[in-house]
């Protein structure tokens, strides 16, 4: 399994010379299975470059974690959607009242976007993501609702004994009297448990988190604690705050590490990073 980060920024695209290394594009991750199955996780602005690498004849499966703007803003610029006869499937969480088509249509329609969802030329199928999991090609996809405002899911993608867990927007520490608590009381735990690679929300410093409790994101220290409790092999910090430039992120991640020897590999999430699992 190959995992590539096409966008690692949270909340708002943040291009500029001070964010070149971590990247300015918002959430988008590509997962490719050994059989060639390709999944795209989220449609932040990073999806535009990814779209240029996908062949016209390929089936594309786009899995949305939720429909906040930074996770769908690149959708209208994802080239496969403009290709007649290209097979595209979009999976995402429904709300309790509206299905995925109705909710995506709010963005992909005037006045926010000039082209309507129904007018896209590709062969598009929308799916309310099944909470009991599903398979695409040889990839097994486990789904769970997680702690973030509005309907939000995390994904775990497994193939041949290796797995990647994707929790880009996640606040498992919200309201917890002690964090991390017992595994059964931690949002997202089952998705992350023992994963070879965990891509996890690390938006805030601890001081910032104290001012933003309930916003749906984690302090970097929470991501580290969550990863340790879940027993992952590698943690990739993700969904970096727009206010954090490269130098700040370097410093915050090292401060969160605190000179400790961690029970997993800590990898700062940078745009363009690629991970080979099970190789």
């Amino acid at each position: 399994m190959r995992v590539t980060l096409w966008g690692t920024r949270g909340s708002l695209a943040t291009p500029g010379p001070e964010t070149v290394r971590y990247g300015g594009n918002t959430s988008c991750v590509e997962v490719c299975g050994a059989d060639g199955t390709r999944l795209v996780l989220d449609a932040g602005t990073g999806i535009r470059r990814l779209g240029g690498t996908i062949g016209h004849e390929e089936r594309v499966d786009l899995l949305l974690s939720h429909l906040h703007m930074d996770h769908i803003q690149g959708l209208g610029f994802f080239r496969p959607l403009d290709e007649p006869d290209q097979e595209v499937h979009i999976w995402g969480p429904p709300s309790t009242t509206l299905d995925l088509r109705a909710r995506l249509g709010r963005y992909l329609s005037p006045p926010l976007f000039p082209i309507r969802l129904r007018d896209l030329p590709c062969r598009l199928t929308l799916h309310d993501v099944p909470l009991d999991g599903f398979e695409i090609g040889a990839l097994r996809i486990t789904v769970a609702l997680v702690c973030h405002p509005g309907p939000t899911v995390g994904y775990r993608i497994s193939e041949g004994g290796v797995s990647v867990a994707y929790l880009p927007d996640h606040e498992p520490a919200l309201g917890a009297r002690q964090f991390p608590d017992g595994p059964e009381w931690i949002s997202g735990y089952d998705l992350a448990e023992g994963a070879d690679l965990l891509i996890h929300d690390s938006q805030f410093s601890s001081a910032e988190y104290a001012q933003r409790v309930g916003w749906g994101h984690s302090a970097i220290t929470h991501a580290l604690q969550f990863a340790a409790r879940a027993g992952v092999k590698r943690l990739v910090t993700f969904h970096h705050d727009p206010a954090h430039d490269d130098a700040t992120l370097d410093r915050l991640i090292e401060e969160a590490r605190g000179g400790e020897r961690l029970p997993f590999d800590l990898v700062p999430g940078t745009e363009g990073a690629r991970f080979e699992l099970g190789a």
């Binding site: 609702l145 702690c147 009297r177 009381w185």
Partner: protein, 131 residues
């Protein structure tokens, strides 16, 4: 032990901050959590007991009506919330094994998650004046 549904986790976290006695049950009626105000009603701390099976829960006290008769299972707010998936409210007496009694009112409501997932029920207790 598998992770609880996110709705159950958030409900527990909310309950832990509220001053009302609150108990959280799974669909089978097992007591998953009760907060500090509820500890006064149960007479034991959650940190000591942890989760409680339906049998353990029923063994804690007897539910009786004002006339002293046992409240039938099907008339109990928790059972209505779990089986009929409806909100229910009722006043009754709790008689502990040591013979002590207290009159309470209980409001129960089902927890229904996305995808038609029945997740359990919440019971909120209110101290009531003796009838």
């Amino acid at each position: 032990m598998p992770q609880k549904a996110i709705e159950i986790i958030l409900m527990r976290q909310l309950a832990s901050y509220l001053a009302m006695p609150i108990m959280l049950f799974d669909p089978a009626g097992n007591l998953l959590y009760y907060n500090e105000p509820a500890e006064a009603i149960l007479g034991r701390r959650f940190d000591e007991t942890g989760e409680m099976s339906l049998e353990e829960w029923y063994a804690l006290f007897e539910l009786t009506a004002d006339n002293g008769s046992t409240v039938p299972l099907q008339a109990r707010p928790l059972v209505i919330a779990l089986q009929k998936r409806e909100a229910a409210h009722r006043a009754f007496w709790l008689r502990h094994a040591d013979g002590s009694r207290r009159r309470v009112e209980a409001t129960a409501f089902p927890l229904e998650g996305q995808g038609a997932r029945h997740l359990g029920a919440v019971v909120i207790f209110w101290e009531a004046d003796p009838a």
